[in-house]
């Protein structure tokens, strides 16, 4: 779609947009931007062998942000009535009524964005809603049936196909108009298993991409179904290990949660600007082994975390946070970039028009090293191997992070032995980063339904090759 289609969709003209930003700046603001969004979300759910629940959800509105120095005024409206939009602009403009103790910085990166054009990291050739529920039903049924048939111990199956399509139009007082169409389709399935002894276990799997109906193939459905039953024998047999400090081998893929929690959040430049991050004074310094490079990437094709343009109209990019062991860049939105007199990195993201943008990760991963995964495991005398996770969390100031391990194995004398489950791991970000002593050559991005919950929900992904962390604290029997 071209800009005319977006303007018509949101029932405004470029002259209207100029007038609105003028109104937003009328009380002395330095910068104003407008964010129009129309999202349609659909879901179909299967429970007890039948596709018996479904729904559609429409979200439509626009947000107005005014910056005065580093201060933010934000308001939004769900209405397209001109008077409602004008009122929102005046509410946001109120921020400029306060005296500003900070200068406008670097004019919110004017000039630094020249020659950068929006990417084409995803597009929808097959908008899912055009296919209706009827075409999705057999695929969802197939998913549920595959899980149910895969293992005699399955007693319950839940499966869901969800998709959304967002039309986004942005306008700001420096760069003018930008726009994006964002498809997102997710497939999830979960099974409850019961063995002959009456023990129950659960497992789940998911895939999510910035694609439309073209994502949904029988092959993908079968992959997700297979992942639900993968490792279930081990899960029934799993033990809680003896806890304490020990070496941890983090398998390729979802172990990227280590990067997200241990360093990613602490590199988000709002925390740096506020001097809250444990990495605040580490810019340009060596923070880990020279074999390590960590990237936050908004350019991976069809990736859940990719952005053609971020939610401030800044093109997505591949940002080296750590290159060859040195801290090279923080993750910036326009405010933090202006504060540090650098270019924004395309990390200004938001959950919806209801939220002002803040620095957020996209797809965060570590580049490949030289070791084979087998050699890394063989190095460990006593430790654990983990590769299946759920949630994580970090305390920015202290740098203490945790993540929850659903499944893994003990490592004894260089070999994977007894399965383990349901343990939390805790560590300190800077120390964990410097404690990575081996990096594998098997980088894998985990394409599950990762969602980061910093103040507002944002879709992300993570990835990592197999790595060995010299020491982390592992939960377990005391």
């Amino acid at each position: 779609m071209d800009k005319t289609a977006y303007l018509e969709h949101f029932k405004v003209t470029e002259e209207n947009l100029r007038e609105l930003t003028g109104l937003a700046l009328s009380k002395g603001g330095d910068f104003a931007d407008l964010y129009f969004e129309h999202t349609v979300y659909n879901e179909l759910s299967m429970r007890d062998g039948q596709v018996n629940s479904g729904g559609s959800h429409i979200d439509y509105g626009m947000g107005i942000r005014v910056l005065k120095g580093e201060k933010t005024g934000y308001a939004y409206t769900e209405s397209t009535e001109w008077e409602d939009i004008r009122r929102a602009a005046l509410n946001a403009a109120m921020i400029a009524d306060s005296p500003s103790g900070t200068e406008p910085g670097y004019a919110y990166s004017d000039g630094l964005l020249k020659n950068r054009i929006p990417g084409k990291h995803y597009w929808s050739v097959a908008r899912i809603e055009e296919y209706g529920a009827a075409k999705r039903l057999p695929l969802l049924k197939r998913l549920g049936d595959r899980v149910a048939e895969s293992d005699g111990r399955v007693i319950k199956v839940q499966a869901k196909i969800a998709d959304s399509f967002s039309m986004i139009m942005m306008y700001n007082s420096i760069d003018g108009l930008s726009f994006d169409s964002r498809p997102l389709t997710s497939v999830t399935a979960a099974g409850i298993f019961k063995d002959g002894a009456g023990n129950t276990e659960t497992n789940s799997a998911s895939r999510s991409f910035r694609m439309g109906f073209d994502l949904l193939s029988a092959k993908l459905i079968d992959e997700v179904a297979a992942d639900v039953t993968k490792g279930i024998d081990e899960r029934f047999a799993a033990i809680r290990p003896k806890g304490g400090e020990m070496p941890v081998v983090m398998g390729a893929g979802g172990s990227g949660i280590l990067l997200h929690e241990a360093i990613g959040h602490a590199f988000e430049a709002d925390f740096i600007r506020k001097k809250q991050s444990v990495f605040s004074e580490q810019f340009g310094k060596t923070v880990c082994d020279p074999s390590i490079s960590v990237v936050d990437d908004g350019t991976l094709a069809y990736n859940r975390g990719s952005v053609n343009v971020d939610d401030e109209g800044v093109p997505g990019q591949k940002t080296y946070m750590v290159r060859s062991g040195k801290l090279e860049s923080f993750l910036h939105d326009r405010i933090s970039a202006a504060h540090f007199k650098t270019a924004p990195t395309g990390n200004g993201r938001r959950e919806s028009f209801r939220f002002p943008p803040i620095p957020r990760m996209r797809s965060t991963y570590m580049e490949n090293g030289n070791c084979s995964p087998e050699d890394i495991i063989a190095e460990v005398r006593h430790g654990i191997y983990v590769d299946d996770f759920s949630n994580g969390q970090v305390k920015i100031g202290e740098g203490d992070f945790t993540f929850y391990v659903k499944n893994g194995r003990l490592i004894e004398n260089g070999k994977l032995t007894a399965p383990i489950k349901d343990i939390n791991i805790i560590g300190n970000g800077p120390k964990a980063l410097s404690d990575i002593v081996a990096v594998g050559n098997d980088l894998k991005i985990d394409n599950g339904t990762w969602t980061c919950g910093k103040e507002q929900n944002c879709v992300v992904t993570c990835g990592i090759p197999t790595v060995l962390v010299r020491s982390l604290t592992v939960g377990g029997e005391a």
Partner: protein
């Protein structure tokens, strides 16, 4: 902030529209909220956010089938098309005989002005923005200058809910919340930092204690400087009332009827059985005026009432909505607890409710030595088995005295075993929270460090 007559008419008309489009029954929830936040960073006004939301959430039943739909577009013409399309989608799904509206006799039948529970501040719309900004600035002003970062946020929110269905039920509820929070970061040795967070909330602005919020956050931050790691082992664990609900939440999730129906609960087949210690009582008190969480009816319109959730260690009820009721073949209760209360107990002295005050200091003294948990850092619990592992932050205490902060520690166990070793439930739950979970203590908890 009020739900207007016109908005209610739109909601009611949309039910008729759904029926005309072929629905056999329908329910609509009209949610409306306004919120403002005033943020101060290092004693300078930093961010002002105004928001106003309203949406219509539909539950549509047609031909024995069910779907749920929502939109924030209220224009009648758009709504008509949306509902017609929604009914069409529902008809493509498989039938599910358990999907229908609740039995009429379960509905709340009194009048509903929305103000009965007195949890909405009548002066919400009258407080000028300048005053709200002043509150944020007054709170921030108390932050000591030695902090390297001090963030304070004042927020106010008003929520309205109008429910109507095609069986004739209508209900209205309003709630307001004022909150102040402060996060202070202080510098420790080298590059290390420590942060402290404190908050206060109240349904009424007059009840909001904001003056010492930043001071308390600062005290918490400095107390956390230079933490130590201690040996793994079994310790007595005292959990502060600000965070204790983390250990109660898995129980509430496991009592949910849908979790029971899906066998996704460690309390499956536990109804009427003593699976908790005999000294544990949990009750639901949904009609306490002025108390957050109080309500006359749940989101299906089912009347709420006082009830025993866990009585002398025996599971007294599951939270069963109309769908779970039909799936499980069990009587409907309410979809969730409104204002659950853990009844105080002191296992060491055998004292129960009404035997004086037992807050944090008392419980620390009685516990002797152990670990005081003041925050959780990540972790999870397995809904099927109840196994949990949580990151914690807190302090080592001996002879009832706090000695030093600890870092990078984990607790691991399973929920039923943990509560079997509970020692204390204090008398100090936070009035501003819906779940009344006081300071708790447990013995023989596995700590890893």
């Amino acid at each position: 902030m009020k739900i207007t007559e016109n908005e209610r008419k739109i909601a009611l008309d949309s039910l008729d529209c759904a029926l005309r489009a072929g629905a056999s029954a329908a329910k609509v929830c009209l949610n409306k909220s306004v919120m403002s936040t005033y943020s101060v960073l290092d004693k300078e006004f930093d961010k002002l956010v105004h928001s106003a939301d309203r949406s219509l959430y539909f539950h549509i039943f047609a031909d024995g089938k069910y779907g749920n739909f929502s939109t924030n577009r209220f224009e009648p013409g758009e709504l008509k098309g949306f509902l017609e399309s929604s009914v069409e989608t529902v008809r493509m799904l498989a039938a599910d005989g358990a999907r229908c509206l609740p039995a009429k006799e379960l509905y709340y039948k009194g009048t509903s002005s929305g103000h009965e529970m007195e949890i909405d501040d009548p002066s919400f719309d009258d407080v000028p923005p300048e005053r709200k900004k002043e509150i944020a600035m007054e709170c921030a002003a108390a932050a000591p200058g030695t902090a390297i970062s001090a963030e304070t946020e004042f927020s106010e929110q008003a929520d309205g809910l109008f429910i109507a269905d095609t069986q004739g039920f209508t209900g209205l509820g309003y709630e307001t919340t004022y909150a102040i929070s402060s996060e202070i970061t202080v510098k420790g040795k080298g590059n290390s930092r420590a942060s402290g967070y404190f908050w206060s909330a109240s349904p009424m602005l007059s009840g909001l204690k904001y003056e010492d919020c930043a001071t308390k956050a600062y005290e918490r931050a400095t107390a956390r400087l230079n933490p130590k790691k201690i040996k793994s082992g079994k310790y007595i664990m005292v959990v502060e009332n600000y965070v204790a609900s983390r250990l109660f939440a898995p129980i509430m999730a496991a009592l949910n009827g849908m979790a029971i129906e899906q066998h996704n609960s460690f309390l499956t087949d536990s109804l009427g059985k003593r699976v908790f210690p005999e000294w544990l009582d949990v009750i639901d008190r949904p009609h306490v005026k002025g108390a957050p969480g109080s309500r006359l009816f749940d989101s299906e319109g089912v009347a709420t009432k006082d009830c025993d959730i866990i009585s002398r260690g025996t599971v007294g009820m599951y939270f069963i909505n109309s769908y779970a009721s039909r799936k499980l073949g069990m009587p409907q209760t309410v979809e969730s607890a409104s204002r659950p209360v853990i009844v105080p107990f002191d296992r060491t002295s055998g004292k129960g409710t009404g035997h004086g005050i037992s807050s944090l200091d008392y419980i620390l003294r009685q516990s002797g030595s152990g670990i005081l948990v003041t925050g959780f850092n990540g972790g999870n619990s397995n809904p099927v088995t109840g196994a949990f592992s949580f990151g914690i932050e807190g302090f080592r205490f001996e002879n009832g005295e706090i000695l030093y902060p600890i870092s990078e520690m984990l607790i691991t166990g399973d929920i039923l075993s943990l509560w079997a070793k509970s020692l204390f439930a204090g008398t100090d739950p936070l009035e501003s929270l819906r779940w009344q979970v006081p300071t708790l203590a447990f013995e023989d908890v596995d700590f890893n460090g």
